[in-house]
Amino acid sequence: MADLSWLIEPVYIVTIFFFILGMQRMSHPLTARSGIVWAGAAMLIATLVTFFTPNLTNITLIAIAIVIGGGFGYIAAKRVAMTNMPQMIALYNGMGGGAAAGISAVALLGITTATTGSLAVVGGLIGAVSFTGSIIAFLKLQGWMRPRPITFPGQQIINMVVLALAIISGVLVIVQPAWLPFSVAMYLPLFFILSLGFGLLMTLPIGGADMPVVISMYNAFTGLAVALDGFSFATPNYAMVVAGIIVGAAGSLLTLNMARAMNRSLTNVFFGAFGATEEKGLDLKGSMKSIEVDDVAILLAYANKVVIAPGYGMAVAQAQQKVKELADLLESRNVQVKFAIHPVAGRMPGHMNVLLAEAGVAYDHLFDRDEVNPEFPGTDVVLVIGANDVVNPAAHRQGSPLFGMPILDVEQAKNVIVLKRGQGKGFAGIENDLFYRDNTRMLYGDAQETVGKLVQALKKL
């Protein structure tokens, strides 16, 4: 084969150009799809041109691995239901982190300078943490693991010790002091085991409700690991460096946005074991009052303005189609319908937007918390569909674990109807005052079924 390795750098530069262009186009819903297509085409040519790398061996192995991994990724992503997207993003992100850790391992097994070695160690640590951390996030979101925080005494101290040992063993891989009896062959596996273990331990105490922050942070981690690994080669791979850093910056920004949306610091998210503790001595006045479907239908039919506040429960019940039907029906009766989207409703940033878009709700019906909050006092009926913590007025009460979290102030509306499967608590495990308010009525049942019944009842009116 003719030497085509000169093609690699120019193609990588074009790739990066299209990556940036693609992300740029993602800033508007109408151009977003072309953005990912451009980025995808760029990725394809970058992968192909990499086969021209000088002295590349094991080509059959590479091809087999691409077919296995690519095939798995493709089929799993095609088959998964829209509601399960958060965990798929977590899973693929973890795989990227794992690949980065693998590159670091291979680099450290070979001959490295102190500089490239250090970068590979840091990249390996971050990649490995992202790998196991994302897998725990995946298991929790998929429901294969208890989503509530898993805590034990001395947890944070143990975590810190594991991290410290991982860093020390990483340093030993690079410096290999003569007075220590062991070689790289000893420290390297130790380093990776400790790093992988730290990712695991760090994610266990984080509850399901904090997953949007966690997924987005591990996304940034993987990006950073990829960037650092770009330097672990004899000639730096700048495509990895630039793409990785762009993702790192994007992910960090998104992570901070998410944390801000919950009025919590990152330290609190990662070390707070949120939801593991109960607020003590809370005395809720009043009782939960339930309501029947037909009464809700009448309330809705004669309202001027209805706001729908969806949450994770809507995703679980796959109720988005029915919700869209309900909204259309109300609009045909000249009821103004708006959707109130809390930034952390659901299990990933923008989760509700995706589901409602899937159902065909136009995005100009979707409103951010800040846009919609002033409107609640003038709203006749708020339908809370499977949301809990993001509408909990406890956030306004000092001493509550939720205190300070900006919420949807649905309790200010004239009527609040809460669609809920049972009397359980939200993911954060905190009692919701809203359910006990005088203007709140509970409509129990599976969200999809209940909204379906509402649609039927409305049609009859």
Binding site: L30, R33, G40, L109, L254, A362
Partner: protein, 103 residues
């Protein structure tokens, strides 16, 4: 990365890339945060090319095994990330074409 010029070049590149990422992302509206995260998830799939080189230059069986696993993981990151993002954006495409009433 043996000489000091290469080091500083790398710092320049890293700084500009970080700034690009920040600027491009800060303009994305909240409703697109999921596809954005999924899209950036796809973009770090570029780790695949690194994994390919790592496996392609591997000499010992241990390196080959690790490299092989890395390529599998990287390839899954690329295709999975792409398909997930594409599926999500497809829905926005569809919902965006319907003219919104009222609101």
């Amino acid at each position: 990365m043996t000489d000091i010029t290469a080091f500083w070049t790398a710092i320049y590149i890293a700084m500009l890339a970080a700034f690009t990422g920040y600027v491009v992302i800060s303009r994305v509206p909240a409703i697109l945060h999921t596809p954005l995260m999924s899209g950036s998830n796809f973009i770090h799939g570029i780790v695949l090319v690194g994994a390919m080189v790592a496996l392609g230059l591997a000499t010992t069986p241990v390196e080959q095994v690790i490299g092989f696993v890395a390529v599998i993981l990287g390839a899954a990151n690329v295709t999975g990330g792409y398909v997930v993002t594409e599926r999500i954006l497809q829905m926005f495409d569809r919902s965006g074409k319907k003219p919104g009433k009222g609101a």
